[in-house]
Amino acid sequence: MMRMIPVRETILSAAILLLLALIATRFSGFVAPSNLANVFNDTAPLIILALGQMVVILTRCIDLSVAANLALTGMAVAMLNVAVPGLPIPIIIAIAITLGAIMGAINGILVWKLEIPPIVVTLGTMTIFRGIIFLISDGKWVNAHEMSEAFTGFPRAAVLGLPVLSWVAVLCVIVFGIMMARTPLGRSIFAVGGNPHAAVYTGINVGKTQFLAFVISGALAGLTGYLWVARYAVAYVDIAGGFELEVVAACVIGGISIAGGIGTVGGAVLGALFLGVVKNALPVVNISPFWQLAITGSAILIAVAFNARSGNAKGRIILKSAQSSS
């Protein structure tokens, strides 16, 4: 069991390296360190969201409202910035995370207390969140010249050679790595997804764990909402339209089982990076836009097919060690 997961990650890493090598033969500038840093920075929002989505998928749920949550939080903080230009960035970030977490909590409550299937809940809240953006913004854009310098400057400020946006993603990866492996919450997330009935017998509240997973995913979406709006210096109703599917795709490519309980932080990050490399490489290798879509789609299918095969593990012999030791 423990050996299988690193294997999957090694293969994915190898696939990314192979992809990079292929791109390099057509456009050598792509693998320059500075460009790879740019690619990582461009993928940072996807990595952050994929981590949140991973936690949700691990508990046998799915959060389709992440992109709408991102857009709503982004619009809210952008409008706040226009209204109160002097508000310090840490406070804006705190507000973004809180707003996102509240929206995640709404999903979580509906799944936990009303026991509505998560796909239905988040499909509904996805539309509601987009609708709310239209209501609060009146369909208008918040534009670059209306945002304060500090607001748009924060994610691109360079620290040790990398923009803050990249560092936020790195920080999230570290926090999640520790959380999933070393905390009771991380273990209960795996337990709930792996076998909910067994989880109940060990004293884990399944609904509450799923609720917390949605809150975590929402908080990350909120954080990304601010980063996204600040990075592209524009907020409007449709930002990140369809991005929730990319986030789910990153998780699936990263080997996180849609059936729950199986997956790693490393897998989610590599899945996101794989998509990030593909998305950034396709424009520069001069492939027709019609093929771009087909290639991205095929990459997802191949990864899923591969995961489905390797996920088809033989039944787990849970008593073998007990047998041999006795």
Partner: protein
């Protein structure tokens, strides 16, 4: 029919007699917009008022529903018919849904024209387009060429591969490339009208074409994203972003220098022309039909095509000199 008309006419006469006396002399032109409270249409109303001031005997009724629905506009049209206005100039929320209501208005002798967003030909006497595909296609390449006297490489950042408008404009642009010697179009990429994809495509363009001089984005999402990508790549002054955008959205890009100029219709001119045309048809009895030439004050003359449609003018160019005036409008 004639009896009905007479009844209606006397009813209308009675209505006007009860209404303000001035209304009997003034030509009352209703400017019906998609929805109230939109900067673009407020600016068009300003233009219509300008035309009214120039003409003297015109009263502009600026109206529209509170949300952009065809139902709302039908109610507004019915109210205007009841008020017996002289002309209705409408920017429609639906091509076909408004036709019955507008036909009713025409039967009552009200001049009906559409502008900006058109109505099907049977529901209006003529339609005023802000510009034409050929003029737009020419304008987007001209904007890039104007800042490249010695020629250079330009690339196009479009919306989706299937966007009808953008594809037609790019096609029209390619037709007139011969007039701009030295300008090379090195590629066309598609940002799907998503800020993040457009940004990435623009970054890719600059990477794969290190000598790129200009990015032409005939889409409002793309032009903003490309400008941001140029700023982030530190290529301001080297790569000029131009195309079609809205002044409020592009003010930052003009300020940062990433975009030297861009174009879009001027709503003030549009409202002005619509009011002028409505006046000419209603008051001076100009016949609106295929091939007709109708004067529209300072905007010159409008020539109608076989569908009784006409294009007002070249898209209006916005740059550092006028952006502050327009960024608060739309």
């Amino acid at each position: 029919m004639s009896v009905f008309k007479k009844v209606m006419a006397s009813a209308a006469l009675a209505a006007t007699m009860f209404a303000t006396p001035a209304a009997a002399e003034d030509v009352r032109i209703a400017l019906v917009v998609k929805a109230l409270g939109i900067g673009f249409f407020e600016a068009a109303a300003k233009g219509a008022e300008e035309a009214a001031a120039e003409l003297g005997d015109v009263e502009i009724i600026y109206t529209g529903p509170t949300d952009t629905t065809a139902e709302g506009q039908i109610e507004v049209i019915n109210a205007l018919i009841a008020q017996n206005v002289d002309a209705i100039a409408i920017s429609a929320n639906d091509t076909d849904a408004l036709v019955p209501a507008l036909q009713k208005a025409m039967q009552r002798g009200i001049t009906v024209i559409s502008w900006d967003s058109g109505v099907a030909p049977e529901g209006r006497q003529m339609h005023l387009n802000p510009s034409s595909n050929a003029l737009i296609g020419n304008m987007i390449i001209k904007l890039a060429a104007d800042h490249l006297p010695d020629g250079g490489d330009v690339a196009v950042l479009s919306a989706t591969t299937t966007s009808t408008n953008q594809n037609i404009w790019i096609e029209e642009m390619n037709k007139v490339m011969g007039n701009y010697p030295g300008i090379n179009v090195v590629g066309t990429v598609y940002g799907d009208d998503l800020a993040d994809k457009s940004y990435r495509e623009a970054t890719g363009l600059m990477q794969s074409n290190p000598d790129l001089d200009a990015i032409i984005a005939p889409t409002s999402v793309g032009i903003v994203a490309a400008a941001q990508a140029v700023v982030d790549a530190g290529k301001v002054g080297q790569v000029n972003v131009t195309g079609l955008g809205l002044p409020s959205e592009m003010a930052g890009a003009i300020e940062s220098g990433a975009s030297k100029s861009f174009a879009i219709w001027n709503p003030i001119d549009l409202g002005y022309s619509a009011a002028m045309l409505a006046y000419e048809i209603s008051k001076n009895g100009v016949e609106a039909g295929p091939g007709a030439e109708i004067p529209m004050g300072r905007m010159g003359t409008l020539t109608l095509d076989e569908n009784s449609e006409g294009a007002m003018a070249d898209p209006f160019v916005y740059d550092a000199s006028n952006i502050d005036e327009f960024k608060s409008i739309f």
